[in-house]
Symmetry: C2
Subunit: 315 residues, 2 copies
Amino acid sequence: MLDCAIIGGGPAGLTAGLYTTRGGLDDVIMFEKGMPGGQITSSSEIENYPGATARNLSGMDFMIPWLEQCQRFGLKHEMSEVTRVSRNEDGTFVIHKSDGTTNTAKSVIVATGSTPKRAGFIGEDKYFGRGVSTCATCDGFFYKGKEVAIVGGGDTAMEEALYLAKICTKVYIIHRRDTFRSAPNTIERVKTTPNIEILFNASPQEVLGDAMGVTGIRVVFNDGSTRQIDAPGLFVFVGRDVNNEVLIQEDGSFLCETNNAGEVIVDINMNTSIPGLYATGDLRISAPKQVVSAAGDGSIAALQAIAYVDKISHR
Amino acid sequence: MLDCAIIGGGPAGLTAGLYTTRGGLDDVIMFEKGMPGGQITSSSEIENYPGATARNLSGMDFMIPWLEQCQRFGLKHEMSEVTRVSRNEDGTFVIHKSDGTTNTAKSVIVATGSTPKRAGFIGEDKYFGRGVSTCATCDGFFYKGKEVAIVGGGDTAMEEALYLAKICTKVYIIHRRDTFRSAPNTIERVKTTPNIEILFNASPQEVLGDAMGVTGIRVVFNDGSTRQIDAPGLFVFVGRDVNNEVLIQEDGSFLCETNNAGEVIVDINMNTSIPGLYATGDLRISAPKQVVSAAGDGSIAALQAIAYVDKISHR
C-alpha cells in the first residue's frame, strides 16, 4: 500500500512529491499521464516565480529541472491515467487507472488542475502562448503600455479586464451578448474605467499575427460588420474545466465536497471533507492559478499527509 | 498615499511586492529594517524550494537574487522599522515608523514572520544553522539515517519528533519536566514510536562540535547527573515569538483578529478581519513555515490587495 498517491504532475503535484518523500513517507507515486510540468509549460515566458530570475525563461525550460529535484528524495512517477479515486470502508483509498489496474494508498493528494476553454476562433491554437493567453496575472505585464483585447463577459473576464486596465493603455472587451453576466458593481467598475472599451454583440473571427506573435484581432459583430483591433495581446476568458473527473464516483457523486463550479472545497490546510484526501492548485476553491501558490499548496498538503499517515499507523 | 504598504522583507513580503507592482499598483513600499531575505538566510542549506535545484545552496545565496527580481517592476524597499499600523476612519492605513515619520496606504500586507526562541545552552548560537535547527521540515532530511536530539516538550516538539522519527534512525527528546504538555494522543504516538527515546528532567548543557558542525550534546539531569549524546543534529522547539507587534494599537488591542498564540486569523485568501489588511507567512494561523508556502501567501495577498485598491478607487 502506498503511503501517498499524488494525482497530477504540475507545480502542486511535484512539490507535494518533494515534501512527502523528503519528509519520510516511503512509497509515494505521482500519477501523471503526460509530461510533468503542468499548464505553465505552454507559456512562452515566466517572470513571476520568485527565485526564477533568468530573463526570457520559457515555461518549459522553467519546469524541466523540477522533476529531477522532486524525484531526488524517492518520488516515483508513473505515466498512467487515473480515472477515479475511491475510498474503502477502512478509510484507505483505491486509485483506478485506465488500463484497469489499481493501487491502494493511505493518503491522496489531488493536483489535477484546470483547463481553460478555448473560444474557437481562427489562429487561437497557433498563437496560444505567443500573444493569446488565458491568464492576466501571468501575462498582463508583457503588454505594459500596450493595448490588449479580452474575449468573454463573465466574472473572470470582468475581473481580469480591471486587472489589465491598470497595466495596459487600453483594454477592449469583445463580448458576444449585449449584457455582461457578472456582479453589478463589478460591471459598473468596468464601465467606468476610462481605458476599457466594450464591444458588445461581437466575436473574435481571427487572430492575426506574424513570426513574432499576435498583431491584431478581426472582430465580427452580430449584424455582420467587422472591425480590426491592432493589439499584440488577446486574453480569452470563456470559462474553464476543473479537472475533477477523478473524484466522481460510480453513482455520479463526488468523493468529497465541491462548490457549484466543481472546485474542491478545502480549508487553509488543503484538507477536503474526507480525512486523508487533499486538494491543491487550480482544482481547489479560490485558486489564484499561479505556479508559486500551487507549489505552496503542494507543500501544505504534503505536511498534512505526513502527519495523517503517522496518525493512522499508530491506531 | 501608497497603493500598498508591505511590512517585512522575507519570502512572503518580497513575493507580495513582485505581484503588487507587476499587477499595476503604483506606489508600493516594502518596509524592512534589515537585509531582505528573512529567516531562511541563516540556514546553511536549502533544498526544498521547487526550482532551486543547485546543491549545497545556502539560504543567503538562495535569497540574494529575489530582491532584484522583486524590485524589477517598481517595488521600493525602505530600510525603516515599522512600529505600528493603524487605521483611519475612512479605511486607509497609517504606517508608523521608529523615526517618528509616517506613511499612509490604501492597503497593507503584513509579512513580519516569527522568531523561534533560543533555549540558552552553550554553543546554541555558535552552531545555529550548522547542526542546531528550529525546523524539522526544513532540515530533518539532512540527518537521514543518523541520530538527532530535540529540546522541548510542547505540541511542536512532539509533532516534530514524530516527523523526524520517520527520517532519522533515532530521536532523543530532551525535556526539562517529567511530563509533556501536548495532546494526549500525540504524546501516546511519541511514546509508542520505537526509535524515540525520551530523557525527562533533562536540559541541554552544551552543544559540542567541530569545524564541520555539531557532533554531540551534553545533557544534564535535574539530579545533577550528565549524559553525552553523540548526534550531528539538535532541534530546538521551545516556543516562538510571533512578530505581531506592528498590529498592537495604542490601547493594547490588536488591529485585527488573532488567536491565543498571537497568530493572525486569515481565510484562504489571506484576508484578515479588516478590509484591505492581509497577513502572510509565519505570522498567520496554520503557517507551514516554509519558503514556498510563504511565497504563495504573498502572491495570494497581493492579488487580493490589487482587487481591493481597484474597488475602493471606484467608490
